[in-house]
Amino acid sequence: MTSKHPQHPNHNHHRKQIPLPCPHLSAFRSNHGGANPFRALQSCLRIRPLGRAAIRRDPAEVPRCATCGSSAASRLYACLSCAAVSCFPHSAAHADSGHVIAVDVDRAELFCCACKDQVFDRDFDAAVVLAAASAASSSSLGLRQPENLRKRRRVDYRPWAPDSRERVLVSRGSVPLPGNPPDPADPASCFPRGLRGLNNLGNTCFMNSVLQALLHTPPLRNFFLSDRHNRFLCQQKNGRKSGSGGGDGKNSMLRRICLACDLDAIFSAVFSGDRTPYSPAKFLYSWWQHAANLASYEQQDAHEFFISMLDGIHEKVEQDQRKPRSQGNGECCIAHRVFSGILRSDVTCTVCGFTSTTYDPCVDISLDLEPGQGTARHSTTKSHACNGEIDSVLSSQGCGISTLIGCLDRFTRPEKLGSDQKFFCQHCKVRQESLKQMSIRKLPLVSCFHIKRFEHSPIRKMSRKVDRYLQFPFSLDMAPYLSSSILRSRFGNRIFNFDGDDSETSAESSEFELFAVVTHTGRLDAGHYVTYLRLNNHWYKCDDAWITQVSENIVRAAQGYMMFYVQKILYYKASENLVSS
């Protein structure tokens, strides 16, 4: 049973927007002319490190309502025209005198006494942010761009069709694949291309599961199916380079291992239309030669294999002067072009607010499950749901279910470093207690989330697996975890262009769609990996050689270990033609 796609009638209603000023604010701005009508306020902005901005004429001022003398009112407003302070109930009276715009002295928020509402202004917010930044004497606003960050070039879509000459070329140089057009009599031709089982070569489901996910990673699939890494040409080049004639067996074995070539072979085989299970033996052989120096390769799990494989594809990249070796900007190889993003780490001194920022590339995000969340509570909830009270189980906090979004919230929340981990503050010149916060500076084309289900304790010499269920969405918006969003909330959600905040990171490019889930069942030492693939909005279970179709309920209920999301703009939605995917 497939659910209808969540409707998005107001899909963009939650997108970032700057509200238009009320007429009173517009009038105030034009009356107080100049580029910055709030210039007078800037000297009154008082910022505490890690605290809220306040308005005080002098630091020791205790604002009081001019009418009733109260200094404890929950809201005190200072008139921007005459600096008279009123509590909220008495602010309307002051507005009658024509002074309409005021500022909340404890929150540095503009207030329109005529509209009786908070109003927002870009210039005012910019003044607050800059005051806060200079008070912390930090460059945390990201005016210094991370190295290797290049704006991803956008190319306008242009439709293309081959002309007659190209059509001749295509027909001369290719052969139609079997099953084209789909033939109802032949079941194999009615399923998406590229669906093919992988034989288990002996405990290799860890490799098969990751391979299945990668075979259907849209940008990676497109790269190899477009012949961007032709294994024949690559091997030819390698053969020439190794110098030997390549006649005897030993030299042919010395021919450079290229995981990309082996992957290219797998793509060709899997998309050929042949549906009998394929044995990725050559790939295993090549990978073991690459991964030979991994300390304890017996302990490989699917995630370690994934990392190792991406590294293998990267390592064999031609040492081309034009291509940088560092993976930061993802220009080095296809593996990083697809999976590499940039993480930002901020460490803030709790005493002076100085923030030290570093950027690191990453090919995936490893997330911790919440420590010891109530299993007892969980089973109670389950019995409720079985009794039909599904609707009562709404908020994840309420029912104690771990969610991917919850993990991401925890990944990006400010974390107090322990007192034994005091950071050296360059401003205070001593070690101080600090806050650390992660955020995503640049999203990759494909986000892989790895759930840390295997806990290895070197002290106790034992490992255990965390079986707790984790809910993951089919559509995921990564906007709240971007550096610009995290920074913005740190500065009170002011209207300002924070680090990474540009038109490139528009709504479309932060929305992701799930396309593959690698699951693990069983124990740590006797377990099994299976991959679920989403093609044309149907879900297929890839269990080594067995490909079966499953309902999305099976996938939602599965124990996710690695979840693969692709940027929505690269994801082809369901089409009527079941075969094209």
Partner: protein, 179 residues
């Protein structure tokens, strides 16, 4: 209303509850102001979508846990979507790229381990040291309903007489240790 007697204590408690009330009002105004800004600037998260996903997930788990539903999860496979059946141990035969011998697919990895000299037991055997002290962590054994004999059968096939045939190769010592 203050009670005539106990004047001092009631005034104290009045003052402190006024004080508390002011603090509470201030905190409430803080949160209201922040939420107002977030809502007006369109920075709030799309809770409807998130709750919908959560609801679908809960519903799915109920449906899957219900034994009366067709056992899609761990039932034995009969045929795959292409109408094919597969044995528990893959029986495709191909040549090992290291030693050129014919190997059965399902036994290729353990063969290759020894063939490339990587297997723990292979290394130990060659250095004539004692038996392996640790169990090797399985990298993921095909333990599911349809493979009811994964470990035991492979041990049965351990015929260590040195004649490599297509099906029985001496991968035995490099095999799967029972946990």
């Amino acid at each position: 209303m203050s009670v005539p007697n106990d004047d001092n204590t009631s005034r104290h408690s009045q003052l402190s509850s006024h004080c508390f009330g002011d603090l509470l009002d201030s905190i409430i105004a803080d949160i209201a102001s922040e939420c107002h800004r977030i809502a007006r600037l369109g920075l709030d998260r799309n809770l409807e979508d998130e709750e919908e996903e959560l609801r679908l997930s809960t519903q799915a788990r109920v449906r899957v846990a219900d034994p009366s539903n067709s056992g899609e999860t761990n039932s034995k496979y009969v045929v795959d979507i292409f109408g094919q059946t597969h044995p528990a141990v893959a029986n495709e035969i191909f040549d090992c790229m290291n030693c050129k011998r014919s190997i059965m697919a399902g036994r290729f990895a353990p063969h290759l381990e020894k063939c490339m000299g990587k297997g723990r037991k292979a290394r130990l055997k060659s250095t004539r040291s004692g038996t392996a002290a640790q169990n090797r962590q399985a990298r993921g054994s095909p333990v599911s309903a349809y493979a009811s004999y994964s470990n035991s059968t492979t041990n049965v096939n351990r015929v260590a007489n040195g004649t490599p045939g297509p099906a029985a190769d001496e991968y035995g010592e490099g095999g799967f240790d029972e946990p």
